[in-house]
Amino acid sequence: MGLHEAKAHQTYKINRILTVEDNAISIRMRQLGFIEGETVVCRAVSHLNFGPLLFILRDVSVALTRQEAALIEVEAL
């Protein structure tokens, strides 16, 4: 599943990052620790269909849009 489908307070393990090119999004993801094998906890989900999501990753709160979160393939733990 994509991280954009995350539910609040659920923990996920990152399986794959789906970005192809090395753009600002993929760089920022790496900088913040979105790499295979890391675990993330969903802290908040904004508006029903189009708002961003908030995750905790390596003790840091990170906000992502659904489009960005969709680039991260995860499994629920």
Binding site: A24, M29, F50, P52, L54, A63, T65, E68
Partner: protein, 608 residues
Amino acid sequence: MSIALVGMPNVGKTALFNALTGSFQKVANFPGVTVEKKSASMTLGSQTKELVDLPGLYSMDIATLDEKVTRDWLLKTQSPLVVVLDATHLKKSLYILMQLLDLGYRPLIALSQIDQASKRGLIVDLEKFSSLTGCQVHPVSAIDHSGVEALKAAIFQLEQPKITELPIDYQKQIKTPHYVREKFKLIDGWLSQIIISPLKAETLTAKLDSYILHPIWGFFILFAVLLIVFQALFSWSAPLQDLIEAGVGLLGQVFAGFITHPLLRSLVVDGMIGGVGSIVVFLPQILFLFIFLQVLEDLGYLSRVAFLLDGLMRRLGLPGKAIVPLISGHACAIPAIMATRILDDRRERMISMLVIPLTTCSARLPVFTLLVAALVPNVLVAGFINAQALVMLALYVFPMITSLIVAAILRKVLPFSAPSMLLMEMPPYRKPRLSAIYKTLINQSKTFLSNAGKVILLFSVIIWFLVSFPRTEMNEAPQIENSFAADIGRAVDPIFSPLGFDWKLNTALIPAFGAREVLVSALGTVYAVEGDEDEQILGLSQILARDYSMATLLSLIVWFVFAPQCISTFAILRKESGGYKIPVIMLTYTLALAWVMSFLTYSLVAFL
């Protein structure tokens, strides 16, 4: 030889820079506040060194323009470094230290927020930390200044680093997940060795976020916060404004008493004191606005607003992060335009720069306050909300919505891609720092009063001259209708009369292109020189209410909602966009928008 402060975003670099140098650089609780390098002198006894505050950097693998500034500095300048690590977020902060060590730097480590970390139970084995990294470690707090002097002494001992020659494929290496994973493993290994007692979990942020970021409650809270701000601007500042107004009146009387020459008396009392005094009276409101912005930034609330509005903003074509410069624009457009550097996409930066001048900057506050007071009675709505504050809130919300609509139109008109990333770190909630509020008060008072003492004074004297000359055959001031000001006002009448403005308003509008608040001082001077008999008992707003129709006053408000910003905004737009194209587009479209919207307002209200 200068020394640079480096570290991840929002770890307290600028707060430490201010503590070390005694500077007043802007500090806030969200990532990306420092977007260009800033330097200041730091003294220890008779020695002086230059300290450079570099924009935050997550990694040598850069994603934004401000990060490029820092990376280039690290690779080219190779000056001694102080790396700032947030003690409350060591897992995050250590990454950039690892990379600096790889480059051959042996920086001083400033362990910031140590007071907060200690309160939450963190105990770090500093000796072990130092032996693992090969660097001196200095726990510091920019709030109570503990450890700052020891750090400063160590900085003065720093020597030129010997930088390692990087492998040719270094930039490729640092982009691989393998490299990142290895660094994370190393960080986790270090942490297991240096942390004697870990941080207790921080639960307040999660609790507060469950309300503040809530899809429904979050918006109610946002509205309530804005309402409190504007209620405060009107209600809390009123006694202070009355005090200043009385002081200005007294000063005028004192000078009128001992200056005997009529022309000189008119220049000093009507031109200088009348003009500048009518602006200085708004100082409390402007200070309240800046204090509230500072408190909201310090709390970490602005980033939450970006999160809350991101979904809506994206539908209009801008990323949620753009809300940070847009909100900053309510204080002043100049730092707000510079803050657009946090946007990764150049085209989004340009759009944001073009729409920031539409937000209600603090220079518009005196203008709106004057006009709202002339239009809206000072009564309570629903028993506790000041009606003028409510209209004032609308004058902040309406331009904000307009700026988003203009951004959406620009997106449609210009062939742009989808909005860029949000991907931002959400700062923890922090207590607002009294020192930052105090510095804001001092800085803004200085800026405002120095502006009043220079620009406003100059324009006031010019306006006084224009309304006081040419002299009559008896060497007396002319009837104001026969003055130079009236001639100028009438000359531009074909442009402004469709908006309901007369020559007096036209005369005040022209210098307001230089600085918006000049409108108030210009009108103050015009009425003072005119010697309006009611001037003694009526405030400027009451005179405006008496002399102009509701249609004209509304049209004037609308003009100031859309009309171009001050000259400085034009200059900063040219600098930040790298040419004249963007400032010229901004000037053209805001002028056109202001004229059309004012015309529609005047025509519609006059018709009704």
